[in-house]
């Protein structure tokens, strides 16, 4: 379980996260939604330690992550996988090398064992045929799937996904969502997903947190999000013609 307790983050005096408290449970897809600039990416970066919080605490299974030194954080970080918005695959490495990279860094397994694990991860994301391709030769959806394979190569306990289906067509986006959901369920991972895609919310939103102007405005799940009375959330949810028509029906 990941817990953030009253965290505050500001940049040059501007408060971006204002005493946000959230808890993310294992085996569930925990979504953070909100408009662009609402603070959800900053929240995720604070959770993984890419940004330091100004106030508040972050716990990974009761381990106080936010107060740890870089060296103390290493064991926690080895339990953590992250899918970045643009994939963040290493340009100089092919697909296999990208997926094998965390294994090379953190395991003493034999080459054959590592290859077996890479094959499994690539099989899991349906990309066995792309093993020798370079990142520049992959489509947007393939990049995301390779990034997922890399993120799960070390069997993480926590998986973070920053806008996993941005820039993808609806079908590929659904495929990525389903993949993340399946992996979360299979390995009982604590998955945290940043998104503003309503399809994702309704499809895989086991627990949804709505961030608005740096504050946690609402939380619930996909079954009750459409019936909420929260005006800010409703404005966010029904901002497109399609969702407004759906609501009318």
């Amino acid at each position: 379980m990941i817990k953030a307790d009253s965290i505050v983050k500001q940049f040059a005096g501007r408060i971006v996260l204002d005493h946000v408290s959230v808890a993310f449970e294992p085996g569930r897809t925990n979504l953070i939604i909100g408009r662009s600039g609402s603070g959800k990416t900053v929240l995720m970066k604070c959770l993984v330690g890419l940004l330091e919080v100004d106030e508040g605490e972050i716990y990974y299974n009761n381990r106080l992550f936010s107060k740890m030194t870089a060296v103390e954080r290493r064991p926690v970080r080895q339990e953590l996988g992250m899918l970045f918005q643009g994939g963040a695959l290493f340009d100089s490495m092919n697909v296999v090398e990208n997926v094998m990279f965390p294994l090379n860094m953190y395991t003493n397994d034999s080459r054959a064992d590592k290859q077996k694990r890479v094959d499994f991860c690539l099989e899991r994301v349906n990309l066995s045929q792309a093993a020798r391709l370079m990142p520049s030769e992959l489509s947007g959806g393939m990049v995301k799937r390779v990034a997922i394979a890399r993120a799960i190569s070390l069997n993480p306990r926590y998986l973070f996904c920053d806008e996993p289906n941005s820039g993808l067509d609806p079908q590929t986006a659904t495929l990525i969502d389903n993949l993340i959901l399946e992996i979360t369920r299979e390995s009982n991972i604590t998955t945290v997903i940043n998104t503003h895609d309503m399809n994702s919310v309704l499809q895989i939103g086991d627990h949804v947190h709505f961030i608005h102007e740096g504050k946690l405005w609402w939380q619930g799940d996909k079954t009750n999000i459409l019936d909420t009375e929260n005006s800010e959330l409703n404005q966010f949810l029904f901002s497109t013609e399609l969702t407004r028509r759906l609501k009318k029906n």
Binding site: L50, V76, Q85, L89, D91, P102
Partner: protein, 246 residues
């Protein structure tokens, strides 16, 4: 950021860079890759510049020594001293600051803006050490080789002038090359080269590492890396010359 902030930020980055690598096997693999990129890929340009530089230095020296009191062998002597003391270590390092420095700044800068550095950090890897240290060590190991190669080719360029012009004879030139040779001058050139190699790689890597923004910033940081490392080369050239030769 002002000069003091940049200096502080550079020193802090160097503290991260100059630590033991996480995985020695991976470090060695990267080091070999970097020696190839930083070193072998520069052989061509170093060779061309060195040969022509040697020829020009020799011709200009010959034209400026027209007194019957000065023996023609002094052309070889002067060319040798100029090439070893200044032209090869400093000019070639400036060329490398342009070639290698811009490449390092844009490579690391692109990794920064495409979140590849964040990906390393999330994995718990010291990204500065992982990305920059192999480049620094590769340049410090291989640039002296490039400079020795450059000195050899520059002197060979001078020999070609002796062969194909009537300014002086090859015999005069070789006599001059061998006249009053002090091994320390080569040592001095190599010390300068190692310091310049450190400056080129760390300053360029720093410029790439601190990028915020997108593609435009990558281009800008690449230019800044070349300008700043060139200025530092000139400055340290003066400091080292004062320290080692006076």
């Amino acid at each position: 950021m002002n000069v003091i902030e940049h200096t502080g930020s550079y020193v802090l980055l160097m503290r991260q860079v100059l630590t033991r690598p996480d995985r020695h096997s991976l470090f060695l693999r990267q080091l070999i890759n970097e020696i190839h990129k930083v070193g072998f890929d520069s052989l061509g340009i170093v060779a061309i510049i060195s040969v022509f530089m040697g020829m020009v230095v020799t011709i200009q020296t010959a034209y400026n020594i027209d007194s019957p009191l000065i023996p023609l062998s002094m052309v070889g002597f002067t060319a040798r001293q100029s090439v070893i003391l200044e032209f090869s270590p400093t000019i070639i390092s400036l060329i490398l600051a342009g070639k290698v420095g811009s490449s390092i700044a844009s490579e690391i800068g692109t990794m920064r803006v495409t979140e590849q550095i964040d990906a390393l950090e999330v994995m718990g890897i010291n990204s500065a050490n992982f990305l920059i240290l192999p480049k620094v060590i590769a340049a410090m190991l291989f640039n002296p080789v490039l400079i020795i190669f450059s000195i050899g080719l520059s002197l060979l360029g001078g020999y070609f002038v002796a062969l194909f012009t009537s300014l002086f004879t090859p015999g005069d030139y070789v006599t001059g090359l061998r006249f009053s040779f002090e091994g320390f001058t080569v040592f001095y050139a190599l010390i300068k080269t190692v310091v310049f190699a450190f400056l080129i790689t760390t300053v360029s890597a720093y410029q790439g590492y601190i990028i915020k923004g997108g593609a435009l910033e990558v281009g800008r940081s690449s230019t800044t890396a070349v300008v700043r490392s060139s200025i530092l080369i000139i400055l340290f050239n003066l400091i080292l010359t004062q320290l080692l030769l006076t």
